[in-house]
Symmetry: C2
Subunit: 374 residues, 2 copies
């Protein structure tokens, strides 16, 4: 395989072009952040999506079209991605013509739950008990290893609660595994966590890492519902969370925004933070940064991959972000009347159930007073 | 002339398309604001510019191409403009196929300094002494009316200090008028102002008007250099400024963001505020709203013309915006290292002298301010 470059060699001047694999809402927000810095964007995706309306150029062709991928890569100055399931072959081909940030290795790891958990565990970072399942022969040992209840998850292509089912005993596990079609899977032990937080870390090409304040996340039906800053996490756990994210980012020689989802175990437990999942990209739990920080996660991702200095990650306000899933986005006329609320809609044509259509952010002053003096 | 519609009849749902005449940086920022609300944008301009990189569609053809204008208007749900010198014929044709907000009347007035000053004066709002000059025969009377020194300005197509010259006496006036090629012009009396501020007012289709805090503006070589909030303006003058802008907006049945530039006369003068200029569009002195408000001037302009409720105009921070003119934009690598500074670059290819290439905004917490505007 030819050499894949992983970083630009100098800060890209305004007028340069950022290539983005994927055309979803994260690509859209990356495109807008790039535009604020005078950078153009070029989307490559196998389907037209919300990012195309905000980008200077878009190539909509299969990820298997090697010639088109080459032409795309030759037309841009650095390439990134807005989802972790970009086919690796496409990224490898592109990487022969333009630097790829973050590195291919981050994608490889994040595309496979077993590889990901093994990678994190090998860094001596706590994860929930997990077991690999390659065939029915592995089921019994897996159940013994994780205990009950547990979650059966496909190793690949799961997101927003898709490709995973909770199981209570070995019979249910066997039935569910058969129903799923016997895929490569992992079984994860149940974690009785008190809250979920995520680390939004951004690392530049010189290895400098900065952190946004940790949002506390709540899920509904397996999909992120709200993210709130500040979290209630005590300072020592915040430092522990940063340390976990830094070790993961350093191990990947990561460039860009990295999200690490963490379970916070109830007080009194021996081990207080467990890694749930890593996402080698900008993350839904960081959308509040667009409204409550001078430099958003999107801009800092672009700064990092473009070789720019990182921007400040400070908050000027407290914030709560709420996702608009499916028809919830139909409430936009009401949301638009609420002061202290920013409405963000992704321009998706069809509000299918479970589809992320937009989000809104409520902000409030950091000062402890509930009401603002005017 | 066929009927020109001036407002949408209902709030435009996400997925609707905003048409924008003009492809400059203001159009670019409007396109991004529209995208945040799930609205598409379609640019019409006689030259490709920075807005095209961020819009879903662009038509680059002369403003005299009636068929192209019709097709553009038929493809969008409402039309606005990012500069006041859009040829009126183009807007009239477009207005037969889609609503135009703000109204054509605002454009007609803003395109001609004499018409504009007469319009404002007729509302019993103070302006600097001015005189119309249609030929050399008008020069003497004009000089008598304004006194010396005075500024000779073309009635049409002047901006950023272009098309205007300071003159000290009638000989200089005669020479300068001949040098300019004897255009339709106005002579304006010199105003010994202490500061300049601008009102950023946004008015919805129901006549409700909201105001951003007034920025205090400093110019350099006839071009805006910095805008700072809060200004030092006392409360009674703030109310007076709001009143002036509201009367202008009401008289135009205005929809969208209206900027009114005001001279503040030194303390002790009988009349404290004078209108310098009005701009029927988003305004350079309001760029800080993108960084210091939850809803920027750009989003509120889009909300108003799309028939949405207006968003909050509150500031969460104090701010100072500085323009990057010409090669000043080459300082981006340094600016990018400064925390509390947002860098905005417009993606223009060539840094010509006097050309607005970008701006940056420094924000600081409101609590540290010596004075509060509200």
């Amino acid at each position: 395989m030819a050499q894949v470059r992983t970083a630009v060699t100098h800060p890209l001047p305004p007028g340069s072009t950022i290539g983005i694999f994927g055309s979803g809402q994260l690509g859209r927000m990356l495109a807008m952040a790039a535009a604020e810095l005078g950078l153009r964007t070029h989307i490559y995706s196998d389907a037209s999506g919300p990012a195309c309306d905000c980008a200077a150029a878009a190539t909509i062709l299969p990820y298997t079209d090697a010639e088109a991928i080459k032409a795309f890569a030759a037309a841009v100055d650095v390439i990134t991605f807005e989802f972790e399931n970009v086919p690796l072959d496409a990224v490898e081909i592109a990487g022969q013509h333009a630097p790829i940030s973050p590195d291919l290795k981050a994608l490889e790891i994040a595309q496979d739950r077993f590889v990901e958990k093994t990678f994190v565990a090998n860094l001596a970072i706590p994860v929930a008990p997990f077991a690999n399942i390659e065939s029915e022969a592995d089921l019994d040992a897996a159940g013994t290893q994780t205990g009950w209840p547990a979650r059966l998850k496909t190793r690949r292509l799961g997101y927003d609660g898709k490709g995973q089912v909770q199981v209570s005993n070995s019979d249910e596990l066997a039935r569910t595994y058969a129903d799923m079609g016997r895929p490569a899977a992992v079984l994860e032990g149940h974690i009785n966590f008190s809250t979920e937080v995520s680390v939004l870390a951004v690392r530049d090409r010189n290895g400098h890492t900065a952190f946004y304040d940790l949002p506390e996340n709540k899920h509904k039906d397996g999909i992120l519902d709200t993210s709130r800053v500040p979290s209630q996490l005590p300072q020592d756990l915040i430092h522990q969370a940063h340390d976990i994210a830094r070790r993961i980012a350093d191990a990947l020689d990561y460039i860009g925004l990295l999200a690490v989802e963490l379970f916070v175990l109830p007080e009194g437990a021996a081990q207080c933070l467990l890694v749930n999942e890593i996402a080698p990209r900008v993350h839904n739990s960081g959308h509040w940064t667009s409204d409550a920080c001078q430099v958003s996660q999107f801009e800092n991702h672009i700064r990092a991959i473009a070789g720019w200095p990182l921007g400040a990650t400070d908050r000027h306000s407290n914030a709560q972000m709420t996702n608009l899933i499916g028809t919830a986005a139909n409430s936009w006329p009401t949301l638009a009347t609420q002061s202290s609320t920013s409405v963000h809609l992704y321009g998706k044509r069809e509000a299918r159930p479970g589809r992320k259509m937009g989000h809104y952010t409520e902000i409030s002053p950091i000062s402890s007073a509930k009401t603002r003096e005017k």
